[in-house]
Amino acid sequence: MNPKTILVVDDDPDFVLAVRMVLEGEGYRVEAAANGAEALAKMRASLPDLVLMDVMMASPLDGYHATQEIADDPQLRHVPIVMVSVIENTRYASSFPTDQHLAILDFIAKPIEPETLVAKVKGWLKS
């Protein structure tokens, strides 16, 4: 069976490395994009099974607006998205678009704990 592909969208290559190290260690395929525009291009070329999307990224296209564009694209909107941010404020998290077609599954806060990340990714892929 082919390994599941997870697209990590973050403009910080060190954070991508931290996530890649853990997820590849668990047997997943990890793709990376440094901003929202690159993420959309990669998703259109090949659909991932899950997207881990940083909220605040340098232009073009931050995480907030990238999720809106994903919601507007019928080909992409069913791909589950998990928002990642250093801001853990729930009030802030709940301000994200809640388009009925947009599959924002969850929010996770940086720093990531390997066990938590792995357990959550397993759960998200099942759902």
Binding site: D12, D14, A18, V19, V22, R91, P111
Partner: protein, 379 residues
């Protein structure tokens, strides 16, 4: 008090003291060339909307700012006529002089002709002096507040910038320690654990700094509203219960029989009580007890966090709420701590119109008392 309120109060008092029909306050601009109408009493609502007045073209203001109280008995009899607000006939104008020179003028008007005498000038002058002091103080306070808000905003964005690299370093280290970058020797695991511990502390320090700065920048404070106090307190106790059990400390909550509603933000209240109960647990050895109780005392809500822990030396008590302060015996029990938790709690309590008091006996225990005004004191 806001500057507008101060000025309106001054105009009102001036009108009453001289039993006049109306009064107005003019403020001088920084260059000392122009005045603008800033507050009035007994004048139409649209008064003061005129453009600013050049001092040298206004007889009353020019005289007053030169240090001579100016009197006009009948504005229309003068040639050329002296311009007073519509319907006014007589005027008395005195300067408002602050510590650094004149800040404006105070005018009193009557509709029918009146000859203001020296006795009336003597009545108005002390009020003008007080007014000038109040204006200077209110302006300085406003400047300080602006300064504090921009300082807090700076800390807030700076700390956010700090959190990101720390969070990335923590994420990397955690992966490495769990062996995701390859097998490690025991020595490497030990060294990486030390690095992790330092990074975790840095994270807490940054979080506390953000909280402290957020409390001081009023526009960043979460929304406030009426809150049932015992729900917030019980929530905090529930969250900290597992840690209390792990430590072998009995943590109980004794709710008040009546419902106490205070005006605050949920996050703010949680922060106050988490900091206090967390401290109590931290400094109470195994076998000890931490009790949180709620009561209504003289129309206010009180929450007491009482422990029979290590206590606080009396010489440390006056410094307890200072930023970064930690009592010497606290350092020996818990090496890691930012010394910001109590400062944050005190700042938040003040924000909600309340206070935090502390009583402690070394070796016997400590009681923190949070007093908050009730949202509806009469109920």
């Amino acid at each position: 008090m806001e500057l507008d309120q101060t000025l309106a109060c001054l105009a009102e008092r001036a009108r009453m003291v001289l039993q006049a029909d109306s009064a107005a306050v003019y403020l001088l601009d920084k260059s000392g060339t122009y005045l603008r109408g800033a507050a009035s009493s007994g004048l139409p609502a649209d008064w003061g909307l005129q453009e600013s007045i050049k001092v040298e073209r206004s007889f009353l203001n020019r005289e007053a700012l030169a240090g001579r109280p100016a009197v006009v008995t009948d504005a229309h009899a003068n040639q050329p006529a002296i311009e007073l607000p519509q319907g006014c006939c007589s005027a008395l104008c005195v300067p408002l002089v602050g510590a650094d020179g004149p800040v404006g003028t105070l005018h009193v008007y009557t509709k029918s002709p009146r000859c203001f005498d020296q006795a009336e000038v003597n009545l108005l002058m002390p009020l003008a002096e007080l007014g000038a002091v109040a204006i200077t103080a209110t302006r300085e306070l406003l400047m300080l507040k602006t300064l504090e808000t921009s300082k807090a905003r700076f800390i807030y964005s700076a700390t956010h910038e700090l959190r990101t690299p720390v969070a990335v370093a923590q994420s990397l280290m955690r992966g490495v320690v769990k062996g995701y970058a390859g097998p490690l020797t025991d020595k490497q695991v030990h060294v990486f654990d030390c690095i992790n511990r330092r990074l975790d502390f840095l994270e807490i320090l940054i979080r506390d700094l953000v909280n402290l700065a957020a409390g001081k920048a009023s526009e960043l404070v979460p929304e406030e509203g009426p809150l049932v106090l015992h729900s917030c307190v019980e929530q905090v106790v529930l969250l900290l219960q597992p840690w209390a059990e792990e430590k072998g400390v009995i943590l109980t909550c004794d709710p008040c029989r009546e419902e106490l509603v205070v005006w605050a933000s949920e996050e703010g209240l949680e922060r106050i009580f988490t900091n206090l109960v967390d401290n109590a647990l931290k400094y109470t050895p195994s076998g000890g007890r931490v009790t949180v109780s709620l009561s209504r005392v003289e129309g206010e809500a009180q929450v007491q966090v009482m422990d029979n822990g290590i206590g606080i030396p009396s010489e440390s008590l006056p410094h307890l709420f200072e930023e970064f302060y930690r009592a010497p015996n606290a350092r020996t029990v818990e090496a890691v701590g930012t010394g910001l938790g109590l400062t944050i709690a005190k700042d938040l309590a003040h924000q909600y119109g309340g206070r935090i008091d502390v009583e402690s006996t070394l070796g016997q225990g400590t009681t923190f008392t949070v007093t908050l005004p009730l949202a509806w004191p009469g109920s």
